[in-house]
């Protein structure tokens, strides 16, 4: 039996903000691009994307300047202003995404044409960085589960491994060994199938700017930001828990799961509070970044202090 499963946090069609009315964002973005205010987007703003708002949040979205000007993307430098400045060398189009490993249907996707065929959703999610700051970002994308289903993973596939582009010509930061390149991340199969997990191809109604992980990136909002790997070239289904970059570099500080958890401190700083970009005072960090209702069941019975 096939039916369209809609989680209860999905907005009904009628409640979704008509596209274009939302903040008048097209005009705002276009105006900013014209005024040369968009970092790293001096030539032209990325192409607009049609989408339907399916997930709202009763919190104010972080400004576009901050979302596109304050990034951790070490492939373009270690300073948070570096990606906006240095990511002009990335060529997000054409882009090939290879889906393979333990699957029935290995896929080689041309991201541009894949995007044009999909019906895209806009979802406003919190993003909590492991460093203790957070944003609210209107992503445009589609459920990761759709890609998983398309590849038809074998029953032995228990994990999904994601790999970022590894081309020093496009990513100058790769010349410096800040991490073991290429950047790799991973999810357990049930996490990948969770309806909250999406592959984002845009934000604020347009294709992703390079510094935000163009042309396609993961967004798993209940986990620390570094799990949401950017500029993905490969998705592989594997049997064992894959090695992931931050976990490898400092296993005591960055766990494989890295679910947002105010009760488990980073060894060097507290995770109990966070600073929302645009605010001066700290606010409490929510378990699973406020998405416990949708994801906590996946971790029932696990000691989250051990599997942090």
């Amino acid at each position: 039996m096939r039916y369209l499963q809609r989680p209860d946090w999905h907005l009904p069609e009628a409640a979704a903000t008509p596209e274009g009315l939302f903040l008048g964002r097209r005009q705002i973005v276009a105006g900013m691009a014209a005024a040369g205010l968009l970092p790293g987007m001096t030539a032209a703003a990325p192409a607009a994307l049609a989408s339907r708002r399916t997930v709202s949040l009763n919190e104010e979205p972080t400004s576009l300047e901050a979302v596109t000007g304050y990034n951790n993307f070490y492939e373009f430098g270690l300073d948070k202003g570096d990606p906006a400045e240095n990511s002009g060398t990335l060529r997000p189009s054409p882009w090939t995404l290879k889906v393979g490993g333990m699957v029935n249907k290995p896929l080689t996707l041309d991201v541009d044409s894949w995007i044009s065929k999909l019906s895209l959703e806009e979802r406003v999610y919190r993003m909590r960085c492991v460093e203790g700051w957070s944003m609210v970002i209107p992503w445009v994308g589609f459920p990761l589960a759709a890609l998983v289903k398309a590849a038809e993973p074998l029953s032995g596939a228990k994990y999904v491994r994601f790999t970022t582009l590894n081309d020093p010509k496009q990513m100058p930061g790769l010349k410096f060994p800040a991490l073991d390149w290429p950047y790799r991340e991973g999810l357990r199969m049930d996490e990948a199938m969770n309806p909250l997990a999406i592959l984002a191809v845009g934000l604020y109604g347009r294709r992703l700017p390079n510094q935000n992980g163009a042309p396609i990136r993961l967004v798993v909002p209940w986990k620390y930001g570094f799990k949401s790997i950017k500029s993905i070239v490969a998705v592989d289904f594997v049997e064992r828990q894959p090695l992931t970059s931050w976990n490898q570099s400092q296993p005591s500080e960055y766990g494989f799961y890295s679910n947002v958890n105010p009760d488990v401190d980073h060894p060097r700083w507290s995770q109990a509070t966070e600073r929302r970009i645009g605010e001066f005072r700290k606010r409490a960090t929510l378990p699973f970044n406020g998405y416990g209702e949708q994801v906590a069941a996946m971790y029932r019975g696990m000691d989250l202090k051990k599997f942090f």
Partner: protein
């Protein structure tokens, strides 16, 4: 000792004050004129905290560079900068701590002690600051007289500890492997190593003695 040129101290004071002046201006701009300004990055609190700490470390290294510069160049006036650079380093370090206490700990001493006990990098930061405290307190001419030159000098060797602790504090703080904090440590080690070279005058005098 030759009198230092008149411009020297004011120029160095101005250079040392620039980061603080810039922060004041940028915060004024952010709070009263341009709330969307990204001058202090998207996270002005973290940016300010980092810049205060970094400037403290830079002033400390500049202070520790005075003796080597004198040793290598023989330019006496540079010695007149040592105390002021040390005091600037201390002032920035205090501002760094106060800003941290204000923004992260609500000025709670209990919380501060907990953090120091729990987090190695904060322990090193406190060690650096606390080893500078007696130096700042005894930085006056009167204090030198009271302590006697020798004891004063011995006490002020604490500055080496402050430098090393501050550099380690920075190394332990960053995420992943980053070059920048190591550069500061290498510069510091070089500045300390130059002190081990034989003194110019003594060396030349020794050379002049008949074998």
């Amino acid at each position: 000792m030759n009198a230092p040129p008149r411009w020297l101290k004011p120029v160095v004071h101005l250079l040392a004050a620039l980061p603080a002046l810039w922060l004041l201006w940028a915060w004024g701009d952010l709070l009263f004129l341009n709330p969307a300004s990204m001058q202090l990055s998207a996270e002005p609190v973290a940016y300010t905290h980092n810049l205060l700490g970094l400037t403290a470390l830079r002033c400390l290294l500049a202070c520790l560079a005075v003796t080597p510069v004198f040793k290598l160049s023989g330019w006496t006036p540079v010695m007149s900068l040592r105390r002021m650079l040390g005091l600037w380093a201390f002032a920035y370090a205090v501002a760094h701590l106060l800003f941290y206490m204000a923004m992260e700990l609500d000025f709670s001493l209990t919380l501060l002690l907990k953090e120091v006990a729990k987090r190695q990098f904060i322990l090193f930061g406190m060690l650096a600051l606390l080893s500078m405290l007696p130096l700042a307190l005894t930085s006056t001419r009167a204090a030198i007289k009271r302590l006697g030159g020798r004891a004063w000098q011995r006490l002020h060797r604490l500055v080496y500890l402050a430098g090393l602790a501050a550099a380690v504090h920075f190394i332990l703080r960053v995420k992943g492997f980053q070059l920048e904090p190591w550069v500061y440590l290498v510069v510091l080690v070089l500045l300390l190593a130059i002190r081990l070279l034989p003194n110019r005058k003594r060396a030349s005098r020794a050379a002049a003695q008949p074998a």
